[in-house]
């Protein structure tokens, strides 16, 4: 179904881009809200001081530290936004999967129902020849489905394995049983099909197997 690859990027991609940007803007608003309240509080202290009232000077230090922390949080968010935006620069390329996983965990971390997730470091750098944007879409959608299915206290671990010479497997392990009967939904299944990716489900884990090379995808995009 590689003939659908570019349609998929345009239709689903736009929706996915919008959805991620909405959650990033929500995160930035929260950051600005904290900075705004802290600046307001500093103004309140200034007014009190003008009226001759005294206050603990450590409050000023706390406020400046808080503003600095939020600015760093904002820069970090914008770095992720920039990295995500550049994932559409080259349609198909050698893609470092660990980077894709790390970014997907950060981007899904902005969702209110996100769960504590860590990416296990892989001993060697594993790359696959694929669409970095569609791979990001697929991992993001998978994490989102798992977050929705898991309880608040659940923890998720992402592990990368080179299962065969021509295959790479991403394992999403969790510490509680989940019902993923409706996963993958049709949109996720479409992306998986184009990427030639296959899901295997167990009670406490989900494995996603991807080919190291997707010649159909490369030919499709190379041919325009």
């Amino acid at each position: 179904m590689t003939s659908n690859a570019s349609d998929l990027v345009h239709k689903q991609g736009l929706q996915f881009f919008g959805s991620v940007n909405a959650s990033i803007s929500h995160e930035l608003k929260n950051i600005f809200a904290i900075i705004s309240e802290t600046a307001g509080f500093l103004n309140d202290l200034t007014q009190l001081s003008k009226q001759g009232q005294t206050f603990d000077l450590s409050l000023l230090e706390n406020c400046s530290n808080s503003i600095a922390e939020e600015i760093e949080r904002g820069f970090d968010t914008i770095r992720q936004m920039n990295q995500f935006a550049h994932s559409v620069d080259i349609p198909v390329k050698e893609t470092r999967i660990h980077d894709t996983l790390a970014l997907a965990v950060k981007l899904t971390g902005f969702l209110s129902f996100a769960k504590k997730t860590r990416v296990e470091p892989s001993g060697t750098e594993i790359t696959i020849d694929t669409s970095p944007f569609l791979l990001q879409t697929l991992v993001y959608r998978t994490l989102k489905a798992l977050y929705r299915a898991l309880d608040t206290s659940a923890e998720l671990t992402l592990t990368l394995r080179e299962s065969e010479a021509s295959l790479v497997t991403l394992i999403f392990s969790h510490d509680q049983a989940v019902d993923l009967t409706d996963f993958p939904d049709f949109r996720t299944a479409d992306v998986a099909e184009v990427l030639k990716a296959a899901f295997t489900k167990t009670d406490t884990g989900l494995a996603l197997t991807l080919p190291r090379e997707n010649k159909d995808l490369r030919d499709k995009f190379a041919g325009g």
């Binding site: 909405a22 309240e37 509080f41």
Partner: protein, 119 residues
């Protein structure tokens, strides 16, 4: 007047509570829906200022649960979303929504108006 502020952005509501206190308004804070329900079981709050999206329990779900304990409590929703769409949420039609970042004077005016619409 007793206020409860509920948001998982802890720095945001702690600062907001401090600023309200400087203006003579007593506000408790809760960092989750469960914590808010626990506090509401011990204190009679007049108004709750709720973040719409929180981990574990949304502001709308929390509203329904708080009403079981405090049927007279009023609500103001706070959101970081760009637009506020009430479509599909018919029972929210009388609620007030404020966008982040908040203006403290607007929040206080809204709280007072909510508790005393005739003022």
């Amino acid at each position: 007047m007793k206020i409860i502020l509920v948001d998982d952005e802890t720095k945001f509501i702690n600062m907001l509570a401090r600023r309200l206190l400087l203006r003579g308004l007593d506000a408790d804070v809760a960092y989750s829906g469960d914590q808010a329900l626990e506090k509401a079981s011990q204190t009679r709050y007049d108004i709750a200022v709720l973040d719409m999206k929180m981990p574990g329990m949304s502001g709308f779900t929390l509203k329904k649960k708080l009403l079981e304990t405090l049927p007279e409590i009023q609500f103001i929703f706070v959101t970081g979303h760009g637009t506020i769409d009430q479509n599909g949420i018919p029972d929210q039609s009388n609620d007030i929504f404020l966008a982040k970042p908040l203006n403290i004077d607007t929040l206080i005016d809204t709280i007072r108006q909510r508790l005393d619409p005739d003022q």
